[in-house]
């Protein structure tokens, strides 16, 4: 196992390592702000569209908290029964209560539905902002910083990486640990994501993990089942939600039920009832 010790000019450190890192940090910041400026704010939608989208959500929130509900019985039952009635009559549907005899509307095609197209355009714009700076920087690095070694990796890699990481250096026997500046670029690309998350917050536009994972067509499958497009399914969803709401009403229990007894028992004023209360 050879431990090749090469001597590298300190000028390389000053004029290659630090500038590449600095440029990548600044370009990341630039990408983040460009993304912020480019994304248009969400379009205002009319009240009935929003009501349709959020109706199911309201019912779900009510249901999920029904076992230890923070709402006293009168509020809970009022909200629950009004939601059940609205779902049954189709009050929340975008186009008004459905006629019993009218044919159901066809499900909207994602390619022609304007709302879905806007979503895809937004994604594609974001992809462009992400990919172009990366290509430019790679070209810049290959042009200016090629043909010399920059750094030694403290961990070993297989020989397959040699071709990619030592591009421009024609020595077949050199240890894979000595690499060219392109690999410093890759190290920075993955390593700076954490730094961006620290400075810019969680959804920043400079994170490179998002470009690799998503694509313009990634959301195509989701949009067909999202509440946005199909009109007919909402009616079925509402009916299912109505049934679940009625079920949840049977398991409803107020948190403050018999709370006077519990507090008194906790302070030792009366004998605690035989059931054990879980105290966190």
């Amino acid at each position: 196992m050879s431990t090749q010790n090469l001597y590298l000019d300190p000028q390389i450190r000053n004029w290659v390592l630090f500038p590449i890192t600095l440029v990548m940090i600044l370009v990341g910041l630039l990408r983040h702000y460009a993304t912020l400026l480019l994304t248009s704010p969400p379009k205002k939608q009319p009240l009935n569209v929003i009501r349709e989208q959020r109706g199911v959500l309201r019912a779900q929130i009510l249901r999920q908290s029904s076992k230890q509900s923070p709402l006293p019985p009168s509020y809970y039952h009022t909200i629950s029964s009004s939601l059940v009635e609205a779902f049954h009559n189709g009050d929340y549907l975008k186009d008004g209560p459905r006629d019993a005899n009218a044919p159901p509307p066809p499900p909207a095609n994602p390619l022609t539905d304007p709302a879905a197209m806007d979503g895809m355009m937004e994604n594609m714009k974001k992809q462009m902002v992400m990919n172009i700076p990366q290509m430019i920087i790679m070209g810049w690095i290959n042009f200016f910083f090629s043909g010399f070694l920059v750094i030694k990796l403290p961990f070993p890699l297989t020989n397959g990486f040699k071709e990619m990481l030592q591009r421009g250096i024609q020595t077949p026997n050199l240890d894979v640990r000595w690499v060219s500046s392109l690999s410093w670029y890759f190290l920075n690309l993955f390593g700076l994501n954490g730094l961006f998350r620290l400075i810019l917050g969680n959804d920043n536009g400079a994170d490179s993990t998002n470009d690799l994972a998503s694509s313009p067509f990634a959301n195509l499958g989701n949009q067909a089942s999202a509440p946005l497009a199909p009109g007919q399914d909402m009616h079925k969803i509402f009916l299912q939600e109505k049934d679940s709401l009625e079920l949840a009403e049977t398991t409803y229990k107020w948190v403050g039920d018999s709370i006077e007894d519990r507090i008194l028992a906790k302070w030792g004023k009366i004998q605690s009832p035989s059931r054990k209360e879980k105290v966190l």
Binding site: L153, P154, G191, N193, T209, L280
Partner: protein
């Protein structure tokens, strides 16, 4: 069993969970940075470097678990010990970056 779980879930307040998760992220990133610097300066290679990363992750996790969560992480976070132990999504790469940088600064350049 699932009813108890959902009851426990309800008692967690989402904005607080968000804040806790964010500060946990920050702590993990900073610990990855500093352990990377330590590994580089000490000149650790191969496995010893990654072992230091693992050791620092365990140390920060146990510190948070004992001191901050007082042994009850399910009060502060979704899912108990799992999110605490996970070293964070890009922190391994950040560790490698800083490790390589300091290793080169100290041992390769004069």
């Amino acid at each position: 069993m699932s009813t108890e779980e959902s009851e426990a879930l309800q008692l967690l307040y989402p904005p607080h969970i968000q804040h806790n998760t964010n500060s946990l992220h920050t702590v993990k990133f900073l610990s990855a940075l500093f352990s990377g610097a330590a590994a580089g300066i000490l000149g650790l290679e191969n496995f010893s470097g990654f072992a230091l990363f693992l050791a620092s992750t365990l140390l920060t996790t146990s510190g948070i678990w004992l001191v901050k969560c007082k042994g009850r992480p399910q009060k502060y976070l979704h899912g108990g010990l799992g999110p605490l132990l996970n070293p964070g999504q890009d922190n391994l790469f950040s560790f490698v970056l800083v490790w390589t940088l300091f290793y080169a600064l100290v041992h390769v350049y004069d």
